[in-house]
Symmetry: C2
Subunit: 233 residues, 2 copies
């Protein structure tokens, strides 16, 4: 539970800092004023810093509790989860940096994928891996679930690009065709709209195939993959 709270905090930290004028300069998120619009620039900066740090406070409280109490045996797994947590957050920041630095420039398909794998994929992969690590599964299971996580991370981004092109702006909260106007490199600009949809189908199928061995126990993960494919916002 503590680790789930910590991930939520890291996610919110990244949203607040990404919306700042020096990064995406967004005034609204999901129809509400962004943090810096409502509370001012310096407060938003420090709120983000604080959330990032507080995530580690939550983890350290969990470790302290674990090291002193009955859950002692799981301390080692929790330390490993903590370690992976720091690395995934680092990759997220690196992805954000590349995305900002290369904005408006023509980039290769490989770089586009590299940015997404880090910027949005790392945290998603962390969620899946952390569940497996904390549950004490085998290395083989952790690796198998990591492949699943990579696939749905990629699918999430392809779907994002498709929605940017043909989503309902009243549901997505974003103007249609915005990416194209900005000359952004997206999966749609590389594959075309139909090509991107085929790619999405393929990647989701691969994600679900990875789960086959777990039969009905993996139903939640299967549904999550389908949700990512079919979401309208």
């Amino acid at each position: 539970m503590a680790f789930a709270v910590a991930i939520e905090m890291i996610h919110n930290f990244s949203l607040i800092h990404d919306d700042l004028p020096e990064i995406d300069n967004d005034d609204f998120r999901h129809g509400k004023p962004t943090n810096h619009k409502k509370y001012g620039h310096s407060t938003a900066l420090l709120a983000g810093d604080s959330l990032l740090n507080q995530a580690y406070n939550v983890i350290s409280n969990e470790l302290s509790y674990s090291a002193q109490n009955k859950y002692k045996d799981n301390t080692k797994n929790k330390i490993r989860a903590f370690n992976e947590f720091t690395k995934a957050t680092d990759r997220m920041i690196v992805g954000e940096y590349l995305d900002t630095e290369l904005e408006g420039k023509q980039i290769s398909k490989e770089m586009l994928e590299y940015i997404h794998v880090n910027k949005t994929g790392a945290l998603l992969k962390l969620c899946v891996r952390m569940g497996a690590i904390l549950a004490g599964t085998t290395e083989k299971d952790i690796e198998r679930l990591s492949i699943y996580a990579d696939k749905i991370g990629l699918a999430f981004q392809i779907k994002d690009d498709i929605l940017s092109e043909e989503g309902n702006p009243e549901i997505t909260g974003k103007p249609v065709g915005n990416d194209k106007e900005l000359g952004k490199c997206t999966y749609v600009s590389y594959y075309g709209l139909e090509g991107a949809k085929q790619e999405l189908e393929k990647v989701i199928k691969e994600a679900i195939d990875t789960l086959e061995i777990y039969k009905e126990k993996a139903e939640f993960l299967r549904q999550l993959a389908i949700y990512i494919k079919e979401r309208q916002k």
Copy 2:
């Protein structure tokens, strides 16, 4: 060692973010262009984020190593140090927030002290406590050294205010009388220059008195207190 590196990273994170236009808007630090002046606003933001996060990466690597290897026995102390680390960093961010929020406003002496205890004192106190915790000293020693740390933290700030008033700008790198011009609440504005110097003497004496029981073993800490009193920059 790992924890010392992590503190250095937190310190650098705080300098980069504090210099940003939305906080202190400083173009130079120690005569060199600040991070955002040299690399741009968005890069400085993300560099600060990354340093804050990397500090925890260093700690998590240390914990992983410790949990798997011969230093196993000290893992509990390291987890405690990690926990205190997150709290001190949180207090530093809170102090920075209050300082930014209350800038230019008349504040009470108590609030002035509260801000400094958090903004600059928390990290200094952490350095001292962490050394004691990782060395596995008694709770009594940790508490005694904490009193010493509080004193030198306070002394550091009083000296800062004195240097702002009468320091050599060629050595300090800051214009003289700047605080007064900005109407800033400082120890000098509360106690007067002579009063602040007496307060500094008193606080440093109290810090050194705390160390008496450790005799020559505390020589480094004694010299550190004297250095803080006599520094010219």
